[in-house]
Homo-oligomer: 361 residues x 2
């Protein structure tokens, strides 16, 4: 399975992630703090997130984390309302948060431009400060991830999550909606180390018991990926990576959404991967796995301390507060997707039919 | 394919849809108008939609239609923020719209209860006015669909769309956000007739050229369903029906989301179904179909006048304004799903592992 040839771009870029996140925290820190103060001063009452593809999953993380941390309602923008229907939304009191690795998508930039024109504060999280999106937004939060060469985005995804997490902590500290300082904020500093440890543990697992996981997915046509809460984004992101790099029909679900119908497709021939944090979201994931198990699904589980000793499981970043686990759990997911693609004889860096920049309207 | 045995509950319930929608318009009219006036008087600035499964797709339709009609931002609520994390959201100036056929889900009811306790106006769209959800909400909008016996919801789905459409029109007429009366509002009256015609055209097509469509999906393990804008909900809904009733791994996408990665799984062995309205959303769908076509996908298309004469196409409800087409386009989708399930030797009324009421938290 694990060949000794030159590593793929995808593998190298996954390995860079702890350093990229360290850069977001150090070099990006002052900018994020200033942005948070400026935003908090405008007292937004709602947040709309605009993004596509992998960045949409970073947006989904923002959607959960801003609600659980700041307590103001967050929605995911439907770009077509602006770009296809030309509707004019009431943007006052709305903060628009756009996420795009390339910043090149006309639809996301159009939503930001419409909101900014109406006077709403607009934030662009992007790896290209010279992009269309960066020009459209009032405040640019650079990802500082360096060039990403694999078509499947990995380091820019985790960099986006890191920017979102720091922003949420700083918005609370700046007093937005009188939110208290989140209990997980002090753990931000330890993130690079936790991510490095997550990579080491994941790599060791992939060379050991995880080989069977790679083999199961490599044989599959279809797969399910499940989580809940902050890690719902992780489930969607790894399902998309399996589609893109391995051409596996993989679907990501929250445990609740899985039970409302899609669990009908579970079965012994459909490998199932769960991201299962400790605590209440983890219990909800277990309930869904139990229902899928009645159809013969035997899940692989990545998560916190509570799954230690389970069959087919990997514990990563056991000390990390749950709201930050999406940054750590996605790493074994990425490594799995990369290894599965190679096991299927595919080049994870250049999936047929996809390109690094997708422009939709 | 089309057997002469007793029709399934699903087939009978699809046939009832025009009468159900007529009942929403006539018997439900006064209640919807009063609800709209009450809501408009509270001047909500933002809408959060709470729903699961098929009802979540009705919520997605509401999400687009309320933004294009009223112009206030709409988001889809993440129940876990309330039920798993216990976060307290700032609910003032928010309208909560909950949709649930059974009204029995604790998670949706919990979101409504939290919002109502904070003083926000709350609306419940449900087929059971005696349900947990109906008790939690300030205003109940009954679906008047009668008992639904098939596990796969069809008539309650279209009834939900009808309630949403009437509500959006009446909210505009009540002056919410100074929205103009929508140009499509006069077409509401003609809906039952348009839906009846859609059923007749779809039935004739299924007994003719559509037989090949049923056969293609009946052979498939995986499928793609695509649309854009108001009919994004239609794509998700029919993909879910194919999963539930036929155990096909079917994924629904907006044309833009499909291009941001998932198009990698398109191919000649993956039947693709597009809901393609006339005008700008239809052009966007065509762009995505062209990209999928490069991988050998040969799509089936259901839509408006502009697709007349295309190979593998069905024109339905050609006179209906685009914002109302989701009610008509979903009918051939439902009939297809029902026929495909039977062609696969499955009982569409009782998919293994699913029950009519799903309770998640």
């Amino acid at each position: 399975m694990a060949s000794s040839r030159t590593p793929t771009h995808m593998a190298r870029e996954i390995a860079e992630i702890p350093a990229v996140v360290a850069r977001v925290l150090a070099d990006g820190g002052p900018g994020l703090e200033a942005a948070a103060r400026a935003i908090a001063g405008r007292r937004p009452r709602f947040v709309l997130v605009a993004a596509r593809g992998t960045s949409d999953h970073a947006g989904l993380y923002a959607r959960y984390l801003l609600e659980t941390t700041i307590g103001i309602p967050v929605g995911l923008a439907a770009a077509s309302v602006t770009t296809i229907y030309g509707a004019r939304l009431r943007w006052d009191d709305v903060l628009v948060l756009a996420v795009s690795q390339s910043g090149a998508g006309p639809d996301v930039a159009a939503v930001v431009a419409a909101a900014r024109e109406a006077g709403a504060p607009t934030l662009a999280v992007t790896n290209d400060p010279g992009s269309l999106l960066a020009a459209a937004a009032e405040i640019v939060l650079p990802l500082r991830a360096g060039e990403e060469r694999a078509v499947a985005a990995t380091k820019t995804y985790v960099a986006s999550l890191a920017v979102v997490a720091v922003l949420a902590a700083r918005l609370a500290e700046a007093g937005l909606n009188d939110a208290p300082r989140p209990s997980w904020a002090p753990a931000l500093e330890a993130l690079p180390e936790a991510l490095e440890a997550s990579l080491v543990a994941s790599g060791a697992w992939l060379r050991g018991p995880g080989e069977a996981c790679v083999a199961a997915f490599a044989r599959a046509h279809e797969a399910l990926v499940v989580s809940r809460g902050h890690n719902f984004a992780t489930a969607l992101e790894i399902a998309l990576k399996l589609k893109e790099t391995s051409r596996i029909f993989a679907d990501g679900y929250s445990s609740a959404d899985l039970l409302h119908g899609p669990v009908a497709v579970a079965g012994p021939e459909v490998p199932t991967l769960a991201f299962r944090p400790d605590g209440a979201p983890g219990s909800a994931v277990d309930e869904a796995l139990a229902v899928a198990g009645r159809s013969g699904a035997a899940p692989w589980t990545i998560g916190g301390r509570e799954i230690a000793g389970r069959e087919r499981s990997l514990v990563v970043a056991p000390g990390l507060p749950e709201p930050l686990t999406p940054l750590a759990y996605v790493l074994p997911g990425f490594l799995l997707a990369e290894a599965i693609a190679r096991a299927r004889g595919r080049d994870p860096d250049a999936p047929p039919g996809l390109s690094k920049i997708t422009r939709t309207r």
